[in-house]
């Protein structure tokens, strides 16, 4: 397979393999649980704790799925059930567009970056809806917080992620990845954007210091307070998968994803090498997210909003300005 040609046009079996096994859903499922393990283990070690055993996240998921699943009387049954499914589906769909094994995803087209960004907004909305329709005052309070914080991290996240696209002049992730690998200087030019995107991603994932919507000591678990059993398991899986896809997106846009690609025969061997490179970069991003989480306290809603509008968004605009200047001055 020639680099950049993508996986279109290969036989149906390989497509199914790609879609469901590797690097498709099964792999995402396993990798998400591994990420949760890593998150909990490293966080624990930094707090001088032992941390969970390797299979703990999987065991938790199985246990939750086997437990009684209660829908409260006051909850809107349909939306309450739909919310976790919509959230998880959106993340799995976004995952398919990420270039993981080669420089293109399952289907690469101009504008796929925007589609992924859009799909990654849906889980937040699902969380809001789930909390809102749970009929619980804590859930509604949490849902309100989710909705009111949405813009404070989505705007800087979008702006920061569009920087490499501006430098390169394409909305196609495959092009961005190519450009980055042939112009290493871009790493430095978009470093500020990477930091902003990292902080905004932390907010998107509702992790410390931005875990305001589910602040345990204030509103118990926020939107998730009424969820139990299978639905809660889906939400938790969605949370883990969102971390993988979000970190993966950063790895693709700022760190050139699976590139440099090594050409090997048969084709799946080079897939594996590409995926390994992608994994290392994704894990690096995830590691940074964990570091951030263990060194801070939770901030307040108003503090987060003012932080976003006073710092993140202006800095993201500065980054965009830099990108435009670079482009006009003849590129890098």
């Amino acid at each position: 397979m020639v680099c950049g040609k993508g996986v279109e046009g290969i036989d149906i079996l390989l497509t199914l393999l790609y879609l469901f096994i590797f690097p498709g859903f099964l792999f995402l499922f396993a990798f998400s649980l591994f990420t949760e393990y890593l998150d909990r283990k490293i966080y624990a070690r930094m707090q001088r704790r032992v941390g969970p055993p390797f299979l703990q996240p999987f065991a938790d998921l199985v246990k939750l799925a086997a437990k009684e699943d209660v829908v409260p009387e006051k909850a809107e049954h349909f939306m309450f059930t739909a919310a976790p499914i919509i959230g998880l589906a959106a993340i799995f769909a976004a995952y398919l567009y990420l270039p993981i094994v080669s420089s293109t995803g399952l289907h690469s087209f101009n504008g796929d970056l925007v589609v992924v960004l859009y799909l990654l907004t849906i889980p937040t909305l699902a969380l809001f809806l789930g909390g809102w329709y749970s009929g619980n005052v804590f859930g509604q309070k949490g849902g309100m917080r989710v909705a009111s914080l949405l813009f404070s991290y989505e705007i800087p996240f979008f702006l920061a992620l569009l920087t490499p696209a501006l430098i390169e002049g394409s909305w196609k992730m495959a092009d961005i990845v190519h450009f980055e690998i042939s112009h290493p200087l871009e790493f430095i030019v978009s470093l500020l954007g990477f930091v902003i995107a990292l902080i905004a991603l932390q907010g998107k994932l509702e992790r410390l210091p931005f875990d305001i919507p589910e602040a345990e000591t204030e509103i118990v678990a926020g939107p998730l307070v009424e969820y139990s059993g299978r639905r809660l398991a889906l939400f938790r899986l969605a949370r883990d998968a969102e971390m993988v896809v979000g970190a993966g997106l950063l790895a693709v846009v700022f760190l050139a994803g699976p590139e440099p690609i090594v050409q090997l025969e048969p084709v799946y061997l080079s897939w594996i090498v590409g995926a390994l490179v992608f994994l290392v970069k994704t894990l690096f991003v995830i590691f940074l997210l964990i570091l951030m989480k263990s060194a801070v306290a939770r901030i307040r809603t108003d503090q987060m909003i003012s932080f976003a509008y006073k710092w993140l968004i202006p800095l993201a605009l500065v980054q965009i300005f830099i990108a435009i200047m670079v482009r006009f001055l003849g590129g890098i």
Partner: protein, 394 residues
């Protein structure tokens, strides 16, 4: 959403004990707070009237799981005062050592809890691990981690050996280093500052008006410390400073407690260097003559107040305990008004509440429920009658 009534408690992750704060919210702002207490009334005072003074030593220690020793100290001081016993100097020093070790572990514990309330679990894990050093020292000397059973009426039950003194001093060196680190973190960490600065304001005049005690009052610039104001045990001989700040906020309460850790370490070092030789206990009679006594100590959370009335028997006639949490609750209601919902847990935690120790008895007030006072004898007759009416044997 308009105004929402949010029940915090009796069961809530932010509260380690059952109590209820019904918070009226306007958006994220707290408009009004209604505090309901009395969920964990255990009837300890009544129970004490049916036990001998020696048995009560162990009961009174179980009022609190953190400042257990402050309660025992109060109880023994009360009994000794009525008996007119002067305890040996060495016993006084050992008691002071325990009072200060208790303050150390309580403040380390509080620092962790405060961290947890603002979502800083790393701080929580760190401080609780360091607290183990104090717990180990307490266990080494007394054999117990929480309820040390150190006091006897007339002195203490166990001596502190030279070996113990060495270990205690080593522990202090370690804790001092850690406390330095926490001081740095508390004063410099941006997210902690964001959550603690100008939060839960209690002005000096309000602190006086609502009779706040302990670190809560000291963080509002009031120099009140029973150890200095009415010295007990060996505090008269021991040099130390009363820490106050005038920032009136949660950060001030953090700073006061962290700096008090240093003062406690200073006191313990002094005690270890000047431990007098001699007996550790004087013999006390079993029966306590008729009399009344009050005693107060500076528990880690503030002034702990005890009252004893004896009637010449082996058992007290009346015993009354007022813990520092109760004294701080009116001030707490004042602090909560007008804050954000997100700040409620840390403001509540900042007074270091211990609800289980505080709950005494629930009185029905006002005329919504007409009630009458019934003495024990009438209640007994009523129950006999009640059972007889149903043909049961009382």
């Amino acid at each position: 959403m308009g105004r929402v009534k949010l029940p915090i408690g009796p069961q809530h992750p932010a509260l380690k004990e059952p109590e209820n704060f019904t918070i009226t919210l306007d958006g994220e702002r707290v408009v009004d707070v209604d505090i309901r207490i009395g969920y964990t009334h255990r009837g300890i005072e009544k129970l004490m009237e049916s036990r001998t003074y020696t048995q009560n030593l162990y009961l009174v220690e179980r009022i609190c799981g953190i400042c257990s020793y402050a309660h025992v100290e109060n109880f023994t001081q009360n009994v000794e005062e009525i008996l007119g016993i002067q305890i040996p100097k060495r016993a006084e020093y050992i008691r002071t050592l325990f009072l200060e070790l208790e303050r150390l572990h309580s403040h380390f514990l509080w620092l962790g809890v405060a961290g947890h309330e603002i979502g800083f679990d790393t701080l929580f894990m760190y401080t609780w691990q360091d607290r183990e050093v104090v717990q180990d020292l307490l266990e080494m000397i007394s054999g117990n981690r929480v309820n040390y059973a150190m006091n006897a009426i007339g002195g203490v039950r166990r001596d502190v050996s030279v070996e113990h003194q060495k270990k205690v001093l080593q522990g202090m060196d370690y804790l001092e280093k850690r406390a330095e680190y926490y001081k740095e973190v508390a004063i410099n960490e941006k997210t902690i500052l964001a959550r603690a600065e100008n939060v839960g304001i209690l002005k000096t005049k309000d602190a006086l008006k609502f009779s706040a005690v302990g670190p809560t009052a000291r963080a509002s610039g009031i120099t009140v410390d029973i150890r200095k104001d009415d010295p007990y045990a060996s505090y008269l001989d021991t040099p130390f400073d009363v820490i106050t700040t005038n920032t009136n906020d949660v950060l001030g309460r953090v700073v006061v407690r962290v700096l008090e850790i240093f003062e406690s370490i200073k006191i313990i070092r002094y005690l270890m260097a000047h431990l007098p030789v001699g007996e550790i206990v004087t013999k006390a009679p079993r029966k306590v003559p008729e009399g009344e006594s009050i005693s107060h100590t500076e528990a880690p959370r503030g002034e702990d107040f005890h009252y004893l009335r004896s009637n010449g028997t082996e058992k007290p006639e009346r015993y009354k305990v007022r813990t520092p949490t109760l004294a701080n609750l009116p001030a707490l209601a004042e602090m909560l008004k007008g804050t954000y919902l997100a700040d409620v847990p840390i403001i509540v935690a900042a007074i270091d509440p211990c609800m289980g120790c505080m709950d005494r008895v629930l009185l029905l007030k006002g005329n919504e429920k007409p009630g009458e006072l019934v003495d024990g004898e009438r209640l007994r007759r009523y129950s006999i009658k009640w059972f007889a009416e149903r043909g049961w044997k009382a």
